[in-house]
Each structure stands twice: as C-alpha cells, then as structure tokens.
Amino acid sequence: MRSARKSSLRWSNWNLLLLVPLLMLITPWFNADEPRVLGLPFFYWYQFAFVPVGVLCVGLVYVKTKDRPAAVHGKPDRLGVDDLDEGAN
C-alpha cells in the first residue's frame, strides 16, 4: 500500500503566490470613495486592479511550476513521481 515516505504532494514555494489575491478580501483597505479614477470611486477601481494581479500570480505559478521532466528530451515522460521529486526544489 502507501509507504510513509511516498508523499502525494509536490510543493513549490511559488505556490505561495496563490495567496496574494486573497488580500482583496480585506475590505477596510479599500472601502473609500476617493481618489477616483475615470470617475470610478476607489472601491471599484481598486478591485478591478486586482484582476491583473490575480492573473499575474496564477500565471507565474503556472510558468514556474510546469511539471519538470526536464531531464528527458524528445520522449514522453516515463519517470515516476519520486524521480521527479528528486529534481524539484
């Protein structure tokens, strides 16, 4: 069955970036009318600004944690999870 050493998780510190967009849930930081941009109160444009922030964070995690079978070129990846984990981090 499952051995204790064989973890089903592959962790990368880049994943921590996924927590950044959660900052937009702290409403006291942006629940204000001024300053306005293009007539939009701060409350609205601040949250719109988080759309690209979210995209950037998720995009970075995607690019930086692409499964790393880099050792194998031109062939489909046939390595086991443990072998792959050796290369990660």
Partner: protein, 544 residues
Amino acid sequence: MQWTELVVFSALFLLVTVLGFVAAKWQAGDTLEHLDEWGLGGRKFGSWITWFLVGGDLYTAYTFVAVPALVFGAGALGFYALPYTVVLYPLVFLPLVRMWSVSRVHGYVTPADFVRGRYGSHWLALIIAITGIIATMPYIALQLVGLEAVLRTMGLNGSGFLGHLPLFIAFVILALYTYQSGLRAPALIAFVKDTLIYLVILVAVIYLPSKFGGWSAIFDGAQARFEATPAKSDGILLNGNNQLQYATLALGSALALFLYPHSLTGILASRGRNVIKRNMVALPAYSLLLGLLAMLGFVAMSAGVKPITNQATGRPDTNTIVPVLFGQEFPSWFAGIAFAAIGIGALVPAAIMSIAAANLWTRNIYKEYLKKDATPAQEAKQAKLASLVVKFGAVAFIVFIDPQFSIDLQLIGGVMILQTLPAVAIALYTRWFHIWGLVAGWVVGMGWGMYLLYQIPSADGKRPHFGGSALALDKLSLLGWHPLAGSTVQIYVGVVAVAANLLVAVVVTLIARKLRVFNGTDQTKADDYHADEDSPNLRPAATH
C-alpha cells in the same frame, strides 16, 4: 411587441439551434453511446474550447442579469461578484489539476465518483451525489429566470401558462439537442454566446456612461438615490455592518463554485493539466466583464430604468433592469443582439448543468443501486433520459411555482454544496478525515446552515424566512445560545455552516480513529494525482 428585437433574437437563436444539432458530429469519437463521449465530449477539449465552455458555464445568464440587479438594489454589496471571481482561480488552481488527473486515471465522471473511489463508500458518494443534484436543480431553473427576463422585456409578457410558452419552446429545443449531442452542444454554442456577450458588454460600458455624464456623475447620482431610500445597508460603498458579509460571501462563493458538479464537468472534459492551468490564467477575462456588467446597475439608476412587472406573478422583476436598460438606450437591432446574448447565455449553462445532474444520477444512483451491471451504452442512454427529466423539472419549477422559490432554493443550494468541501476538495489532498467524520460534518453543516437561512428575513421585511444569505451575528444561535447577541455585523451563512462542518468532522474523525473504526479502502494511488495526458497509466477514454 418589439419586432426588430424579436427578429434578431430569433435569428441568433436559430443559429445556435443548428449548431446544437450539428455538434453531435463535431470531433466525434467512435461512439456517442458512452458517458465519456456524451457527458464529457470525449475528454479531449483543448485550451480554447475549454475557455469558452467553462466561461460559458460559470458566468451564466442569471449572473448577468442578477448581479447588476443586486447592484441596482443594494449598491456596493452587489459588486462582491468581482472579488468572488478573482480569488476563485488562485484557490482552485492546485486542487483542480489533481481532480482532473485522478479522474482521468480512474475514469471518474462526477465528484461523487471520486469520493466513491477515494473512500470506497457508496453511501458517502450517495450523499455527495444527492447534494449535487439538489443544488444544481434550482440553478437550472434560474437560467430560465434569466431567459424569461429577456423574453418579457421583448414584449412576450403574457400571463398564466401562455406567458410561459416562449420559454417552454426554447427549452424543448435545448432539451432535444442536448439529448442528441451531449456536452458538445453547449461547447459549440458557447463560442457564439461568449462572443456576443463580450461584444454587448464592451459596447455598453464604453457607450452608455457618456450618455449620462460619465462615471463620476453616475456614481454621484446613485449615491444621492441610495441616501433617499429608507434602507441603511445600501450605498456606493460598504458600511460597518456588511463588510464581513462582502468578504465572506466572495470567499464562500469561490470555495463553492467548483464543488458544483457542472463546473467540474467542464474541467474533466479538458484534454490535460496544462489546458486547465492555462484556463485558470485566462478565465479572469470573464471576471473583468462581470465587474463591468455589475456597474451597469448604477447606469440603470441614472437612466431611470423601471423594472418590468412580471405578468405571471404580478410583481416587478428587478432582474429585467439590464434588458430594459439595453432596450431603452440601444437601437433596436443592437438591443436584439444584446437580448440574444443573454438568452443564449442561459442555454449553455442550463445544458451543462442538466448533463452534470444526469451524470450524477446515472453513475452514483442508477449504476450503483438500480442496475449494477449497466453497460456503458445503457449508462449513456440513462443519462440522456435523465437530462430530459432534469430540464423539464426546471421548467415546471418556473411555470407552476413562484420563481422566487427558485431564487431562495439557489441561495440554499450554495450553502448546501459548500458542505461537500471536506469530502471532495480536502480529500484530494488527504485521507485524514474519517468517513464517519465527513458524514457527521455534512449532517451538522447542512442542518445548521438550513436553520440559520430559515431565520433570515428578506431585506424589505416582507418575507420572514429564507430572505437572504446575510446573517446578523446577533441571530447566530446554537441550540438557543446566542454567543454574539447585540451585534449587527453580518456574515455569509455558508462559511459559518462549513466551519461547523469542519469542526464536527475533525472531532468525529479523532474519535473514530481512537476506536479504530474501518475507514474504507482507497482505490487511488499517490501517482494518480499527477497523471497527465501523456502518462502511461491513463484509461483510454470511452472504452471501458
């Protein structure tokens, strides 16, 4: 009757009907008589198709009419839809690829299939399946509310059964091509739907504000109107009482969304992990759109839009404000395109939701309890029939029962589906929770959540129960004990219920582990959660 709008609407509706039927042949596999094909489009959709399909699935017609309607009525609170759909993708990015991999290796079609495999318990899977079906049904009905809002705005606003006839016809057509083509139908139609939606919203957001003196004047006017109303909770900003509600509603909705079976259907239909990951980066384009759309609620206030009175219920329907705004401010041919965008926007999610509910019925009830030896072809047949039943159930809901009932039920459905979080989402990472802990947590989260929702009166005070999802902490009660009596701060019921769910699950798990109660057999292996499209351990799609 608005003839120009009707003609444009009908022409576009006809176009998607044709697409719906030809979709059966689109990228067809060897057979449609298999759930992998009918219910998941062959499990081979690439990045673009998935983007349109999932976008069309998550951002529904009801969202497009209800979010601006909420902003129109309550102001800033309705804008929660933006943070909801921004925090969504980072939250689900990692769990979704694991779900895809394990489902691809084992041929799972529904979230309950995964729970069945992970815990080896068909009872736990049954609970998840029933929760999914009950939460999805009112959601389908709400798509009809969105479609009907458009039809009534175009003048098809009859009373009684005749008033519902146009809706009925639209749904019969939808039911027929979904029956024939399965998930390929909404996937193909989604291209039309989303293109129209982007076109309409971008034109609306660029063109309309200038007609009313720019955004600054629109927001100032809205604030003046909110101040004139007796309600204290509205305004263009949040207040001390609804900030917690705003944040928890956004977070709770984000956690719940991919627990809905129909959201997962779109994910499982994709070809590989990278398709999903790319979509997590690209789908926020729809969030931007939704945020812009939400602000049309303020524009509607400036335009002095009056909601149309629904002749079937006799009440003004605020869900008509965006269609009315478009009808009032756009030339009729463009209003027709806008109405078609919303109307077709109802068809895509309604089709996917009925397929997802049909898959749950077939895999986790029919095959599990009624016909254990069902062949793949029999499963596909059963799912097709179930999708018809589900759709006509939804129509009956709207025609024979007050639409308000569907709105209440959808509210409840969100709280319900959130209770499957430990068994579905957390189980992707760990099997630490015990089956009995998960069941006990589900029972408590469900029961307490329903009880708390029952206690919430509507904002206008007209209905004493199920009036919303914002619970004043004062009303938070546990068997008569009010720990936060006197507080007027509001919170989203869903997160309260799921917190109780998790707490109970942890306690019961600890007890069950102490007593060494058998915790089912795990059919999944660690590697399964990382399998990708080129992995050797995949089951070929549509063969087993």
